[in-house]
Amino acid sequence: MSMEFLFATGIGWIVAIGVYLMLRGRSFSVVLGLSLLGYAVNVFIFGMGRLWSAAPPILGAKELLADPLPQALVLTAIVIGFATTGFVIELALRSHHDGGSDHVDGRPDADVHDEPKR
């Protein structure tokens, strides 16, 4: 049970949950799914600089140093993801308010009381 195995399965779980939520009918769960997917991707980027323990991304601090570039990339990705999530929440709220339903296809609430069994 290495750190890599734990890391990879963790990302896999979060992606699976995110994808499941994104396929739901209500915009709220879709937004949640998108956020989870975003988290999983951020952790994935971080992991692509290899996993280190006790290795700061600073030159000269130690013999072993972590690759700082993915950490910089992940910061950018977090910021962008944060902004877009904010926007999509606002858009979903607006769509709910104007269309009278928070179903992603705008179906009226009466039709989607329960998740349809197909």
């Binding site: 915009s27 998108l34 690759d67 993915p70 962008i80 999509v88 769509s95 992603v104």
Partner: protein, 544 residues
Amino acid sequence: MNWIDTHLPILPVLLPSVTAIALLLLGDHGGEDAAHGHRKLLWARRLALASVFLGLLVAARLVAEAADGGVRAYLVGEWPAPFGIALVVDRLGALMLLLTSLVALPVLWYATGGWDAHGRYFHAIFQFQLMGLNGAFVTGDLFNLFVFFEVLLIASYVLMAHGQGVVRLRVGLHYVVLNLAASALFLVGVSLLYAKAGTLNLADLALRVPELAGADATLAQSAAWLLLVVFGFKAALLPLSLWLPATYAAACAPVAALFAIMTKVGVYSIWRVHGVVFGADAGASAYAVEAVLLPMALGTCVVGVLGALAAHTMERLVAWLTVASVGTVLVAVSLFNTSAWSAGMYYMANSTLVIAGLFLLAELVAAQRGDAADRLEPAAPLAQPALLGVLMLLAAASAAGLPPLPGFIGKLMLLEASTAHTWQVAVWTTVLAVGFLTLVGLARAGSILFWHVRDDLPAGSYSGSSPKLVGATLLLLATTVAMSIFAAPIQRYTSAAAQQLEDRDAYARAVLGAQTGRSETTRPYTGKVAAPPAAAASAAGGQR
């Protein structure tokens, strides 16, 4: 002037962003009421138009410089190339910049005819959209490509919902969610590629991807596949194209016309990444996606034109034609030879202008048809059947590829380039059949719109038809005619651009400077300390 000349490659990004900030500071009319004559709106229009016109001049200058040869690299802050932010303008990039400006100027002019007053901050968002588009075309770095994708997407989310209404908000939500999912895949692909190649600079990638072998090459190729999904989604490649017609048809006309260039960002990225980095000389990863790209591109053409035949509104028809035209360009990309690429660039420039013109025209026609609007059913006669009919004929003939219009020249070049290719029969059949069916679809639409009129209804009003609106549409279509007149110089340019694209060493020399090929640092950085000599050297390299 010298100063401007030095910083010319970054101006296409800086100019719209500075203008957008100025427009935000200027403020807007603050709501719907009496917006048309509002002082701030008038100033915003002047500022935005002036900026886009300046952008056109800059793009034209860059094209003129690129035509002389050299790839021009601009290192932001003078950080050395594979590490800092590099902007690169080569012939293809300059062509795309010019195309963006050529579409943006008439579209913005059209939008000042009234659409910009239907919501807030239209001009500022429009400039941000241009900044994202231009940035995507000049960046020489895969991660910056992602950043500029996000800039142009965030702007497009807002533009998409411009004018509001239930349909736009609902379709806009789909559009945003799908794009966010695609962005997540983009990041996965980019970081996977970084993990294997240790760089995201396109010039550096083009040198390092060929060196990968075995499991590393397989992982790099899976990154290429992920990126194909992302770019294919933006470009509306077949299984990922079904979002496009609903979205584009729901957006208001000038926005849809501007979005015509947005699909080309996807095509452009496929060109750069899959055409060059994973192209002919990519070692174990050569032609990584060719086996799927070509059939999918052909399928995109077919689905696009079938959708156009089945469309029941004019805007949907044009949106489906966008899909078909993107398919044709992608066929050219996936033939992987310079003459096909040249044909693809020519056809792409033409089809973008025609599609943008058709989107504007569709709204002009719809405005004069009373309640029927843009639905393809008999309705009141138009107020200006001759003028709009001629424009429609011109656009239709160019979209379908009838001589002597540029659509024909582009397709002819493509057909010529595909001879001797193993898929020649499929390419010829598809391109010719798609051209014919496009003509059928547009002829059907045209005859319903212009001839199949109901005499029992009063003739349409001139509403929505001012000299400005017609002039903007005319300008777009006139540009395509000009492309036909100047076909020879343009074709020389595109074929030089295609050759330049394939020459990855020259590109690398221009971007990476003297230290071509290997720099002394070790990438990808693995940080192994206690190990055999080679790895120890690499650890030392990593600490530099």
